[in-house]
Assembly symmetry: C2
DNA sequence: CGGTTAATTAACTACACAGGAAAATAGGTC
DNA sequence: GACCTATTTTCCTGTGTAGTTAATTAACCG
């Protein structure tokens, strides 16, 4: 993966790693520092730091500095882009994606945050 | 990506390539041989053949031999697994995924093909 | 300022992947 | 069998990535 890949490619590439998916799952339970994210894993801190950077590049994680801590927060937009991409397969997945489609359309019109 | 990656990882890795996503999009319009899949792209046939193999390994494409042609067909299961995985982010994506969740649950119970 | 903590960067190894060209396989036709 | 077509396999190159340890940056604390 090049650094200038299109957003969808960057998102799928970011999701194509179990450690990164686990990091995202952890972040659904609230913000966390890089050190906190690293705790459950048996890998070095630099490794986690790089994973976080991949997630940032894909727009899935946002990092804010608080003193010497980097607090990581989950960003939903790329996942919504994935859902949007999957809509072209609605005939294969069933009509539920139609409803999802409408929801996202409404969302773009500003009907909901 | 190792060859023995878990299914979700293999699926996301397969989707993390624009050429492969284009191949999938083409297959929503019906079956196609490897040669037909290669036509729109400015890459060699072996390259496409390898992309198709990655898609097969992820379960996204099924190949059936007809004489010397390999007809490729889209398989929806891995995409459904992606939707299932995304359900843990429903709070971030909105309640539409709840409905999708119910749909997939009904589907597992055999309410629909 | 010296020390401590949090996180990143640098340098390196090992491996996987995208791509091409060329050779090999497989099936159909004559 | 010889030949043609479709596809895959093999071999090669360049590049990206996951991981390590060691060094570096950044911010706070006394």
């Amino acid at each position: 993966m090049t650094v200038d890949a299109d957003p969808l490619t960057a998102t799928f590439a970011a999701l194509a790693d179990p450690t990164r998916r686990a990091i995202l799952a952890r972040l659904t339970r609230g913000e966390a520092t890089v050190g906190q994210l690293a705790e459950p894993f048996d890998v070095s801190l630099p490794a986690i730091s790089k994973h976080v950077k991949v997630l940032q590049r894909a727009g899935l994680v946002e990092q804010t500095r608080r003193a010497q801590w980097r607090s990581c927060r989950l960003r939903p937009e790329p996942l919504r882009d994935v859902v949007t991409w999957m809509e072209q397969y609605r005939d294969f997945l069933g009509d539920s994606l139609d409803r999802l489609d409408h929801y996202l359309t409404d969302l773009q019109k500003g009907d909901r945050p």
